[in-house]
Symmetry: C2
Subunit: 207 residues, 2 copies
Amino acid sequence: VRDTEKISESTVRRLSAYFRALSDLLAEGRVTTSSYDIAQRAGVTSAQLRKDLSFFGHFGKRGTGYRVEALHEEIRAILGLNRRWRVAVVGAGNLAHALSEYREFRRQGFEIVAVFDVDPGKIGQEWDGVRVEPLTRFDAVARERGVDMGVITTPAAAAQEVADLMVAAGVRGILNFASVKLQVPATVSLRHVDMAIELESLSFALK
Amino acid sequence: VRDTEKISESTVRRLSAYFRALSDLLAEGRVTTSSYDIAQRAGVTSAQLRKDLSFFGHFGKRGTGYRVEALHEEIRAILGLNRRWRVAVVGAGNLAHALSEYREFRRQGFEIVAVFDVDPGKIGQEWDGVRVEPLTRFDAVARERGVDMGVITTPAAAAQEVADLMVAAGVRGILNFASVKLQVPATVSLRHVDMAIELESLSFALK
């Protein structure tokens, strides 16, 4: 396996797509498959699939294809989904509530272990067994529960302060839903989710 | 401008990133910029940026760079953001509520003009001036209000039925948040948003 630093975000995105294609194949009871089949389900060319997998070692055999279960497990491990990740969400609004109800997260190993807000009207609410706590408790709770990842769903104006809190508490990865660019140290991984991008892809197709 | 059918989804995704970089440059009061500057803000190479833009015509001048405002307008038009899109959301849960509060949508021309559900407890609620209506009214309302795009935030089991309703009502683009693959005619554009993919990109980086 090469240095993961050199693997682009779009390669990881495609690995996620291959992982979903293989999950579907498993659910269909398929034992072996071809690079063509996986690639087509993931919306890429077979050449692209083979190139992406070649970064991580040798999979499959010429002429006999891939064993679905083995490749599924390999990609699961490459994506870091063969363990549990402890996630803390800051900003107990509708989006956070939707994320806490999203079964796919838990199924893929992402467990929301803490939710925080500054609004006294939200603090104390219980969501799926997790109580909304005051943001002042972030550091203590994150360390106590071994939080790996933080999700920011606050208004844009509060997001950088929350990111700083997360970094100070030892959180190593941050998913930001707020509409603002955040600064974090190079040792912390940061991803920005911009919901409008998906609608832009539709408007491009429809215009 | 070449046939948009041949432009890949990842190219469109990068155009969205260039559009955001140019919006930031505009906000900073910059008049001209370089391909290097835009590319770096968007997280790609200058060569990639120039290649992507070359699909749509000739922008900028060798040695003098790009005019920020002109390129911003060009990409806005390419992405189809220089008009208003009328969006209907089906499934009045937390995610739909979060989307209806998301200011970036409206700012970029996506207007939620209707929200539907089958739950009598939700029907009649008013969100930001839009009343939640019974799903049985979808066809009539979509035609009356000229809905262009549909957003599905229902449970997976209901999503295909909702997509069929949308297609029958003349909706041309569908954004699906439900965890299930949908079938639509080739004349309808379909995008699937899988929130877990962003967390997978973090787990890959952290593992």
